[in-house]
């Protein structure tokens, strides 16, 4: 038989101090069902004045507890007054959603970020690459040399471009029959070269010269 004013917000809402926001919302809904102005449950149980006070306290309680910051402050006050135990407080162990696709990949996968942007400027200043790029016609062998000069693995490129490693191999070994079509080859080449060259179009043209004849 505690008067409303002497109950703390958790008591008035009939919840434990560890209640989650979901529970708080439900408790408030339930309380309105019980104490609302047109509620049959508490009809005649409270006087008009009592009901008005109770409802205003309920609203305050709900608004305080449903907000993270104000709840934290309020909890602190209750703990300081020794009304509730710190251990019984609600702690939010929020969990990030887990992307399902991640579960299928190996743990030591090379992240996309492992091809740094600086590669492009490095490629431009590398003497080996410059020498190769001076040629009129380029072969798979040349592409491989350039890639190795930059120290990028084929797996790394496959990861980044989402092109199957077999296709990349075929490109570097000039085995055109293993590739689906000329159109595909062009597109693969573009993705491959975009990893470390600024002027991919001209390289593609010089590579394709041998097929277009």
């Amino acid at each position: 038989m505690k008067p409303f004013e002497e109950q703390h917000y958790y008591e008035i809402l009939d919840i434990s101090p560890g209640a989650s926001p979901f529970e708080i919302r439900n408790a408030y809904k339930m309380a309105l069902q019980m104490y609302g102005n047109s509620s049959p449950v508490s009809y005649s149980f409270f006087s008009k004045d009592e009901r008005a006070r109770l409802l205003s306290i309920l609203e305050k309680a709900f608004l305080t507890l449903i907000d993270k910051e104000t709840r934290l402050k309020y909890d602190k006050k209750l703990v300081e007054q020794g009304i509730i135990d710190e251990e019984s407080l609600y702690c939010e162990d929020s969990r990030e959603p887990i992307p399902i696709i991640d579960l299928k990949r190996s743990k030591e996968r090379i992240s996309v970020a492992s091809i740094p942007k600086s590669l492009k400027s490095e490629a431009a200043s590398n003497p080996v690459i410059r020498e190769i790029l001076a040629q009129d016609v380029l072969t798979g062998e040349d592409l491989k040399k350039m890639r190795e000069a930059l120290g990028v693995s084929l797996e790394n490129i496959s990861e980044y471009t989402k092109i199957r490693i077999g296709f990349l191999n075929s490109i570097e070994e000039d085995q055109f029959d293993d590739l689906p079509s000329k159109f595909h080859l062009r597109s693969f080449l573009k993705s491959y070269l975009d990893c470390f060259h600024t002027d991919s179009e001209s390289i593609i043209d010089r590579y394709m010269k041998r097929i277009d004849g």
Partner: protein
């Protein structure tokens, strides 16, 4: 051990006699020797509900000293194991029972030896009614989902509480207590009853403790009768919650009983509803209610037996 179950509920027409009648028949069928007492003194009709239009004896015979013991007014019913003390043929002023005679009746009821004694208590919140209600620690309140009925239930529960306070303090002191309570808490936010209890605990600490104990011992139950489809089925449960929280009285919810038009037919036929219409939702609900009453009683006697063995040890 005799279980005395007063069944009442403030407002008339909520189905008290109807439930007593059906509960009695059910308990008797389970092999329990059951006595129903109609203490709705001015407006008795339990005998009609169970199909005895002209009972030969009634509780008045005992009150007016026509017979010596209450046991002599018991009549048998068509159901085996089921007995009735009727309130029919009462004299017209029997409702205004003087205090001494009421005490005599209460004592006599307590002395009767049956498995179950069901008291059909009338409407209202007069002292006579409340004293019958307080004959045992058990009790069932019957309400319908209408605000008129709910209002009277709360009033009855408060009246029972008030009566407890009133009984503990001599008349003159009580008057003083009320006056102090009224002046001190006039502008305060708490209601009259709480103010009285607070003041009593302060001025008579020992009696306050005794009151607390006796309130904790009370074990009341609530049944929500005539629940129609669109009514909130959680109404009764929530009512109990409010009473527990704001009056400190333990009231347990015993369940809903669905509204059924055929109840009217059964009453008109003066026949027991649960046997006339056994496969209706209302019958199912009533049987659930009866089962609950039985298991609560069994629990009580178990607890008592345990206590007795402990004492002997």
């Amino acid at each position: 051990m005799t279980h005395i179950w007063p069944i009442g509920g403030g407002k008339g027409g909520s189905g008290k006699s109807f439930l007593v009648g059906n509960l009695g028949v059910w308990l008797a069928e389970q092999g329990k020797r059951t006595l129903m007492v109609d203490v709705d003194l001015g407006a008795a009709n339990l005998h009609t509900i169970i199909g005895i239009p002209y009972p030969k004896k009634s509780i008045s015979d005992f009150i007016n000293k026509k017979v010596k013991t209450l046991e002599e007014t018991v009549i048998e019913t068509q159901t085996a194991n089921l007995f009735l003390i009727s309130g029919a043929k009462n004299s017209l002023d029997v409702a205004n029972l003087p205090y001494a005679q009421k005490l005599k009746v209460l004592r006599a009821i307590k002395k009767l030896s049956y498995d179950f004694i069901l008291l059909d208590i009338g409407a209202g919140t007069s002292f006579n009614i409340i004293d019958f209600f307080m004959i045992s620690d058990l009790g069932v309140f019957v309400t319908t989902p209408e605000p008129t009925s709910i209002e009277n239930i709360y009033r009855l529960i408060r009246a029972v509480y008030f009566r407890k306070v009133r009984k503990m303090i001599p008349q003159r002191d009580f008057k003083k207590l009320v006056e102090t309570a009224l002046t001190r808490y006039e502008d305060s936010s708490i209601d009259y009853l709480s103010a009285l209890v607070l003041l009593m605990k302060e001025q008579y600490p020992q009696k306050g403790k005794a009151l607390e104990r006796s309130v904790q011992n009370m074990n009341f139950h609530l049944v929500l009768n005539q629940l129609r489809k669109k009514d909130n089925p959680r109404l009764g449960m929530l009512m109990c919650k409010i009473v527990n929280k704001y009056l400190g009285i333990k009231v347990e919810f015993l369940g809903n009983i669905s509204y059924d038009d055929r109840v009217h037919d059964a009453v008109c036929e003066k026949d027991s509803f649960i046997y006339r219409y056994p496969y209706t939702q209302a019958s199912l609900d009533i049987r659930n209610f009866c089962n609950n009453i039985l298991s609560i009683s069994n629990l009580k006697s178990n607890v008592r037996n345990d206590a007795l063995t402990e004492q002997r040890l």
